[in-house]
Symmetry: C2
Subunit: 359 residues, 2 copies
Amino acid sequence: MNTVRLEKILDKLEKQNLSQMIISDPAAIFYLTGRYIDPGERLYALYISRSGRNRIFINNLFTVPEDLGVEKVRFSDTDDSMALLCDTVEKGVPLGVDKTFPARFLIPVINNSGASDFRVSSICVDEVRACKDEEERDFMRAVSAINDKAMARFRGLIKEGVTEEELASQMLAVYKELWADGFSFEPLVGFGANCAMGHHGPDETVLKPGDTVLFDVGCKKDNYCADMTRTFFYKKVLSDKHREIYETVRQANAAAEAILKPGVPLCEVDRAARSVIEKAGYGPNFTHRLGHFIGLEVHEYGDVSSANEETAKPGNIFSIEPGIYVEGEIGVRIEDLVLITEDGCEILNSYSKDLDIVE
Amino acid sequence: MNTVRLEKILDKLEKQNLSQMIISDPAAIFYLTGRYIDPGERLYALYISRSGRNRIFINNLFTVPEDLGVEKVRFSDTDDSMALLCDTVEKGVPLGVDKTFPARFLIPVINNSGASDFRVSSICVDEVRACKDEEERDFMRAVSAINDKAMARFRGLIKEGVTEEELASQMLAVYKELWADGFSFEPLVGFGANCAMGHHGPDETVLKPGDTVLFDVGCKKDNYCADMTRTFFYKKVLSDKHREIYETVRQANAAAEAILKPGVPLCEVDRAARSVIEKAGYGPNFTHRLGHFIGLEVHEYGDVSSANEETAKPGNIFSIEPGIYVEGEIGVRIEDLVLITEDGCEILNSYSKDLDIVE
């Protein structure tokens, strides 16, 4: 058990007048124990308490190291695992649970644990996870470096007559050759007008000269997730307008990254990019928030949007991904992951953002 | 809305003294409405009621057909969607919810809906889904036929020096060429001793003569899932023992399939296969249940195991997948999907189960 991380979570719980919580999200349990289990439908839960009586509930089907740094409660399918969990809960005081804790466990806990009140307290875990420690920063640097190398290889796959799907189907092998463990999400590959569609999945569209080629791609390594977007042009840029769109997105990306440091409100980071795009007359064509937090999961708690008045904090890692989408014509997006450091920021992706015409 | 399916679910609820339920599982909502949405963290729920006041709650971000056959309640991220849902619930009577309904929705519903009691009632949906109607049977026949064709293609990829991962990485393209929509699950590819490891993921292991080659694979088409396993030998069968193991598994598969018809207890189906393996002296090497139900999801409610005394019913579709696993040496599994018909059964996979030595 990572006691530094645990203490931070218990402190957050205390501020919400909670002394105990059941954590069931496998990513959150990994964050604390270093052990990943996909329990399927079975109970898998980490009970944490200010009293120090922490326990992890794991079905016998799953193998775990002898020493997890926390008391293990093992059970089989025929045992009443919910009774074991309910017995552990402290009676007469409120209990926090994960936002994803499912009804099949929550209803028995509500009926039988004896806690006085039940509250979703995921935020206490999420806020701690949003500030990556040194170990996590290194994992995020490493996986982003793989993603940079992969992007160069993906660019090399662009050729006459290729379809989006043919490109996408080669990506996993590239990642594996670069020692990634797999995708962090299914790659988005778009040509031309398809780039203007939100989350367009690769299809049979054939590449043609003048198309943009958008790669929104990421891999996983040691459980941490990369995420990056680059947009290339194939053979030529069809018009000054297309060139202007590309350069505007690039400037928007740069404008946001230029102001990153601890204390900057995240809505201002969004504003920095958005105002570049608005000034160029494409405000309505930037249809989404600027970015999302990332780490053990591709989308973690926290975002970079006009509505988020929270400030950037050391250890935050999020995407900066402005885009301009002109329906039926073109889409351009440029995305980096960035790390807020103690005194500024570090851009985790170094792959070039210069306008690049692939011959 | 599929009113025939809805009525069956409402009847099941009534037997549990429930007149209303919130369904949130996207597969279950698809089953009733024909519309699939992945809502991420957002509320997506179908309220059904004996009173006929059915409503579906869908965020404005998701596009849906004008006519879903059920009243739509649309909302945006800034609306209090939980209040809309709670207002709809009938007060003073119990409410059923899905087993997966997450705490972030369930706790507000418990605190604010005014229902008298809260129960997990997924079983009422699951039992109806376990009996496929004619439309679903056709989808399952079609996707299984694709899987048969794909198996022949996968066999053709077996060659000197290939790794498990190289084989697995070619499978998606094969499925797409055969007009499948994608994988129903990540393919399991194992060589030799790796076949003896439960759910071994494809790795860098290189094929060598005498290895078994196990493909546990499935595709998706029109939202329905295929699942099949075949085990080949590469170049030669190393010993009479290996041949005996293969033939035993084959006989176990045949013995189970031979007794399938409505009314047969599922535990007896498991027994039919297991006793063949036990008689051959490999009882301890068949380490799992005989099969699982399947449809819109690869693993659905219902299984074929020694513990399940339920009887087979017309429309049930499940796997028959006996296996013998000798640690460090060999693993063989042969799996078909089967459909219980009104008077017997239909084996949905026709790919040969004869011992096949690939040259």
